[in-house]
Symmetry: C2
Subunit: 436 residues, 2 copies
């Protein structure tokens, strides 16, 4: 397999020719939001490609006939809605255009004028939210995380609720709070019960003292289902557009006081960060593996014909201090899920709930089985603040300080053919001091 | 106070001249979605009014200058975003145009050509969702409901969680599942634990056997707040566009098995019905009253300067059997809330969560203090299925049967000057039988 003719495609780049993730950009020459794919340290501007007199989208990608403006739109929703067969054709056609041994060198590789306009350095473009997200659902499929957190609060015997192994537990999140990587995250104010043992219970209001991250995989829906009609688990892969990394920032002290009986609310709705490039479902196909074995007797609608339904994505979490020192505080794999996204979709739609193009599903926090260095949250890593995580330069944390930045990374495959997500990062800044 | 010259404005109509709620319609002559107001048994088509050569929106309503297409759009979001001062001016101007003693008779009352095109029977138009709803949040502010349900499951001593009187408990709902009055509701399939005492706990999958309604008031957001910035409780009224009735259909058996620890999910996301006409915030101002007294020491951000912050709306619930017999099974008032919508907004935004124009807040189920005939759900009325509700014609229910319809109604004020919501109705049909 050859490489790409595009400039600066390092063997360690997340964005090899095997990846070609889609995103929404603005560029120095075009400040209206539009679509691009990433290749190495560059992007290919798809709006420029589509508008060039010498190309024409439908001649390059016959399935886009009638959809010539699909890459000039401010989100990827219209493209996502066309379905996986179209995504596959377009990604395959782009792969050919960008390959060193392209079958159509005249289109781009050997067209200096178009190359200069359409191939831009990633440093020169700004990334935006890739999709218009109608609804966001966060699941809780990270078994090791759920077990560790449950053990912390209820003991190992009662760590998991009885329903946990029978259905993918999830809750509705806040779509308006989702931001793209790089957006600063304000520490939330909230109600906090400082001493849970004192009576009567009297909360205070102030900045969260237990601000945490959550390492998750996010999944975007391509095709909607009709209200009232369930999606079968073996058809659910066809509903998926692609994947991003997701950091579901969480305020543990606010969460503890508010979440019984209706679930997390202000502890989660102040910000959720996603990586800007959507790795298409097809790009992850080679990295399928088995989920964590579920010993429960599964309901029929959750039984998958395909047994390799999660992805072995190498995940890492970096914490960067206000002083600029970076420590990788966790390493694990996205395979550490009890439930696959097709199972989540089958369950989500079981009662007829309509999923729409652009809806986002989070996996839940992903932790590995191997102890503190594999934890996808500080809650687990520090045993709810009881132990410190040691950082580079004699520093340490229980929860996040103002000025700390968290960066998630995820990558599959070998050097030269990596399929990665790029950075999913955000820096915390101080809480609002408006009078309360 | 005089009445309206519009035809058929009965003294018992919800849509007196004192109301003028806004909605989205399609008409025999115009099948694109656009705005209207209700007056008696008619509508005034605002798109027709705006497009008429003799009128011109900005000459009628100076604050709409530059927004002449605001009523030709498929949702009320653009109008809502203009803010309460504009809503007030437009409503007041429309009131004048429609009054028997209008100061501008030439515009509409004495212009037979425009009247014929712009005043249509409600029977001739179709109603649609009034807003594009980005996020839907459902609160739990109905104190008597929360107490009754808590008592049922945990006893009176532990009926309410310790946080209940300190913060308006809420959870994120599913925006994609909201439908307009009249839309049929499919009974959901779901996981159900038939015998909670048997070990090991093994659920089955099938149609809900405990399908219920919830009587709620819904509130639409007009003005967005910036991410990271809280809305003060005394400024929150200015963020509100208006109100609708809301039926948060609920599957109690699915809910019982799934909701610990992250809250309700499939038990709620198969359908939520709202009434089609948005009663503007100003129209409800005369009906303010005090909420239920809260004995807790409130956090500063929840303390309201205004003590009359809920509305005395007379609420009723009708159950219509498949045979067509209708029984009013509950009567109560919307004043039975522990928390006002301004308090809900202040709490929702405390940590910086952005509310956007068109976002919907539900009050939570509203029940009165007076026993079974004031219950806003069958769960309370039947003690979770233990007692039957007697219906007209020797019939009875514990939960809803296929073919049953639920209609919510709400009205303030006296005959001739009623401010009401119209019907919020939906009929249940049978669950999907797709293989599971």
């Amino acid at each position: 397999m050859g490489g790409s003719w595009a400039p600066d495609v390092s063997p360690t780049s997340d964005f090899s020719l095997e990846n070609l993730p889609f995103g929404i950009v603005t560029t120095p020459d075009d400040t209206s939001l539009h679509a691009a794919v990433a290749i190495g340290s560059s992007i290919l501007d798809l709006k420029v490609l589509a508008a060039h007199p010498g190309t024409g989208l439908a001649s390059l990608f016959p399935s886009l006939a009638g959809h010539e403006d699909v890459f000039a739109q401010p989100t990827l929703n219209a493209f996502a809605q066309l379905g996986r067969a179209v995504h596959r054709e377009v990604r395959s056609g782009l792969r050919d255009l960008l390959a060193a041994d392209t079958s159509r060198p005249e289109v781009l590789r050997d067209s200096p004028e178009l190359r200069e306009k359409a191939i831009l350095s990633q440093r020169s473009v700004r990334m935006h939210l890739p999709m218009a997200i109608g609804d966001y659902t966060d699941f809780y499929a990270g078994y090791h995380h759920a077990f560790a957190v449950g053990t912390m609060f209820r003991g190992a015997q009662n760590a998991l609720q009885p329903s946990y192994t029978h259905l993918p537990v999830g809750y509705h999140g806040r779509a308006s709070s989702i931001v793209v990587s790089g957006t600063p995250i304000r520490r939330p104010n909230g109600q906090i019960l400082l001493d849970p043992t004192a009576e009567p219970k009297q909360p205070i209001t102030g900045p969260s003292r237990k601000l945490d991250f959550e390492l998750e995989l996010g999944c975007f829906i391509a095709r909607p289902n009709k209200a009232g009609e369930a999606v079968g688990v073996d058809e659910a892969d066809d509903q998926i557009f692609g994947y991003v990394l997701l950091n579901d920032w969480s305020a543990r002290d606010i969460q503890a006081w508010e979440y019984v009986p209706l679930g997390p609310f202000n502890s989660k709705n102040f910000g959720t960060t996603i990586s800007p490039w959507v790795v298409l479902a097809d790009a992850l196909e080679p990295f399928r593996t088995k989920p964590i074995e579920n010993l429960a007797e599964l309901q029929g609608y959750l039984r998958e014909a395909k047994h390799a339904s999660v992805f072995d994505i190498r995940l890492e979490v970096d914490l960067t201090t206000p002083e600029g020192d970076t420590t990788t505080i966790a390493r694990t794999s996205a395979k550490n899920l009890l439930w696959s996204f097709p199972q989540m979709i089958a369950h989500h739609t079981l009662g007829g709930c309509p999923l729409r193009t652009g809806d986002l599903l989070g996996s839940g926090t992903i932790s590995g089985p191997g102890g503190l260095s594999e934890c996808g949250s500080l809650l687990e890593m520090t045993q709810n603040g009881k132990k410190e995580v040691l950082l580079y330069g004699m520093d340490a944390r229980t929860f996040l300080k103002d000025g700390d930045a968290i960066t998630l990374r995820g990558v599959c495959g070998e050097d030269g053919a990596r399929v990665g997500f790029g950075d999913c990062g955000g820096r915390v800044f101080s809480a609002s001091t408006t009078k309360r």
